[in-house]
């Protein structure tokens, strides 16, 4: 790592240009997303759908049609919970790509509580959430231990855990957990009513999970910015060598982060089975790739837990658009993956734009008086650029 040449030298203390401002980051992100939509439009056009028509239909069906708008929040809820968890993991430089599996593990744990324990009544839902949290956390445990103990790349192991969870859920719903009353279909019996999450009247928003997501986002923001543990997480994530130097326990910090991250995804899984489906079913229906989309939600939030409130809503909008395109434009739901991939590409591509501003903006015109080069604050040339 090198020292960034980024302090503008107009006097002893002057404006620093190295930190991209919030507004600039926002502007670049917005442009990137816009560009992704244009590129997606190009793909629609190649597919034989007029992009302007498509976007008009989407805007109408998602935002104008009565009752459609709240639908956005149905996918926002799992994206928010998993997204917050991933923000935390990414802050600790743990590339958790396994949120999908952790979400499914949470769903399985909650289903277990709802169907196979005698717990009924008002305690059912809290116990399901607790079980879901533990399920998700445990699903993330093995990759984190492998990473911490043996330095096994977590990207691949968490991905593998996704597939294992996927087949595990398939097996449950076709085998041991298949509901005796559903005949032939691959899902469990329906949950007892005490395991159903309440909805906001007139919508299909299971509000307790939404509240949980908002609280979690706020909690993570406080954790990172204001607590000792958050400080340790940031040091560990930004510079593991420095963490070692001051004696921060990497094992403990990363493990905690991963438990929280997996647990948050597990909560999302609880929300899906208790709030939407009221049973465990085919894994591809339990999660519509939320765990993968949450990666973009977290990436776009750029490490800010509260920002996931906005980014998760944005991707909730994209999921709703996917529904619309499926119904009104007869396009496959996979089209959301096109959006997701393109947005992610444009986002990481535009990150260089933020950096270029850092690199070029502070350059001074050669006409500047050389005298200031000898000013006390002058960083000496070779130590920075050799």
């Amino acid at each position: 790592m090198r020292v960034g040449p980024s302090v503008r030298q107009l006097g002893p203390f002057r404006i620093e240009v190295g930190q991209p401002s919030g507004a600039w980051t926002l502007a670049v992100s917005a442009v990137a997303i816009f560009a992704a939509f244009i590129a997606a439009g190009g793909i629609f056009w190649a597919y034989g759908v007029n992009p302007i028509h498509a976007y008009a239909v989407i805007a109408h069906d998602v935002l104008v049609v009565p009752g459609a708008f709240p639908e956005i929040f149905r996918s926002t809820i799992p994206l928010l919970l998993t997204g917050v968890g991933l923000v935390l993991a990414f802050r600790a430089q743990f590339y958790n790509i396994g949120a999908e599996g952790q979400l499914l593990a949470g769903a399985v744990a909650a289903t277990g509580v709802a169907l196979f324990t005698p717990i009924r009544g008002p305690m059912t839902l809290p116990v399901m959430f607790a079980a879901g949290f533990v399920g998700g956390a445990l699903w993330g445990l093995l990759p984190s231990l492998l990473k911490l103990r043996l330095n096994v790349n977590e990207v691949i192991t968490t991905l593998m855990m996704n597939y294992i969870a996927l087949y595990f859920v398939s097996w449950l719903v076709t085998g041991p957990w298949r509901g005796p009353s559903v005949r032939g279909f691959a899902y469990t019996d329906q949950f007892p009513l005490s395991a159903w999450l309440p909805l906001i009247p007139g919508t299909r928003i299971h509000w307790p999970t939404l509240v949980l997501g908002v609280v979690l986002a706020a909690g993570c923001a406080v954790l990172l910015a204001r607590t000792r543990l958050g400080f340790a997480i940031r040091v560990q994530g930004e510079n593991p060598e420095a963490a070692r130097y001051v004696g921060i326990n990497a094992l403990r910090t990363t493990l905690l982060v991963m438990l929280l991250s997996g647990g948050a995804a597990g909560l999302a899984g609880v929300g899906e089975v208790a709030g939407v489906h009221h049973k465990l079913l085919d894994p591809n229906q339990v999660s519509l790739g939320y765990g993968y989309t949450a990666i973009i939600v977290a990436w776009l939030a750029r490490g800010q837990a509260l920002a996931t409130l906005i980014t998760a809503t944005l991707f909730g909008l994209i999921y709703s658009s996917g529904d619309v395109m499926q119904v009104s434009l007869q396009m496959p739901f996979r089209v959301t993956s096109v959006f997701n991939g393109l947005i992610l590409f444009f986002l990481i591509g535009s990150e260089r734009l933020l950096a270029y501003r850092v690199r070029w903006a502070p350059r001074r015109a050669p006409a500047d008086p050389p005298a200031s080069a000898a000013a006390p604050h002058r960083p000496s040339g070779e130590e920075q650029w050799e």
Binding site: V152, I156, G175, P332, V338, F345
Partner: protein, 289 residues
């Protein structure tokens, strides 16, 4: 049926599924040797599978299908190269984006073809499995016994050293990533024109991710990739074969669980032999250390 026949049968079928694994792993090894991780294999393979199927169906030549697969794989990889080499973005995230995009595009474009069987499939025991083994040997010879191999490996180990010798690091990485993508495309194409001659959405089913793990398991050595691919191909096949006795889902988990196990073993006992190229995953910018 005799036990020997049974084992032989399993091995032959294992080789059949080992073939796309091998082609994909060789492509990944080639790119990673130049210092670029490409997690987009799943996306490149599914694109390869679809384009191979479509081209073979339209032209009637499965060979042309594979050519189309190579082209689309290379083009997809070019995108990854641009984002991760030229724009120096995070290689892991760029690869993930490529996988998402590839899965989405193939799903979108392939909708009208869903479930069709291919009218003129390539026989599974065609030229591709032996060609894969030959390719592995050729890439091994290329890496270790040619001037280009020294250049490629240097770019992966120490791009600054290559740059100081007047080698265009970005160009070498582009070539490596694109060639790797072409192999991944062919790997996907093999699935849809030979292994299971038809098109179904998501037919790669996570093989692309296993390919990435295979590159590590083979310790970035093309020759070891042959054995690794055969092993995993057999494992995949067993997960179908044993379904007579065991429910399919736990069996289908097996290759993925085994991948984790294998990576852990490699990390625990592999020590020096399993060392990745030193600049793997790191973007290069001249003058920056």
């Amino acid at each position: 049926m005799g036990v020997v026949d049974w084992i032989l049968g399993v091995l032959v079928r294992g080789m059949a599924l080992g073939t796309p694994l091998l082609w994909g792993a060789l492509g990944e090894i080639y790119a990673e040797r130049a210092g670029v991780v490409n997690l987009g294999v799943e996306g490149m393979m599914i694109l390869g599978a679809f384009f191979a199927f479509a081209a073979a169906q339209l032209t009637g030549h499965p060979g042309l299908g594979l050519l189309a697969a190579a082209l689309i794989g290379g083009m997809a990889a070019l995108l990854h190269a641009f984002v991760s080499v030229t724009l120096r973005a995070n290689q892991f995230v760029s690869g993930l984006a490529l996988s998402m995009l590839g899965l989405g595009l193939a799903g979108l474009l392939g909708r009208g073809w869903e479930g069709f069987p291919l009218s003129n499939p390539l026989p599974e025991r065609s030229i591709l499995p032996p060609l894969g083994a030959l390719l592995a040997v050729a890439i091994w010879a290329l890496l270790y016994h040619t001037r280009w191999g020294i250049i490629l490996r240097t770019v992966g180990e120490s791009p600054a050293a290559a740059d100081a010798m007047g080698i265009d690091v970005a160009l070498v990485r582009y070539l490596a990533v694109v060639f790797g993508g072409m192999l991944a495309g062919v790997a996907g194409g093999f699935l849809s024109v030979a292994y299971r001659p038809s098109w179904t959405e998501g037919m790669t089913g996570g093989i692309g991710w296993i390919v990435v793990a295979l590159a590590i398991f083979a310790s970035w050595d093309p020759l070891r990739a042959i054995g690794a691919a055969l092993l995993f191909g057999t494992l995949f096949h067993l997960s179908f074969r044993l379904q007579a006795w065991i429910p399919p889902e736990p069996l289908q988990m097996m290759p993925f669980a085994f991948t984790i196990l294998v990576l852990a073993i490699a990390a625990r006992w592999g020590a020096r032999a399993w060392r990745a190229p030193e600049a793997l995953g790191l973007p290069y910018l001249r003058g920056e250390r």
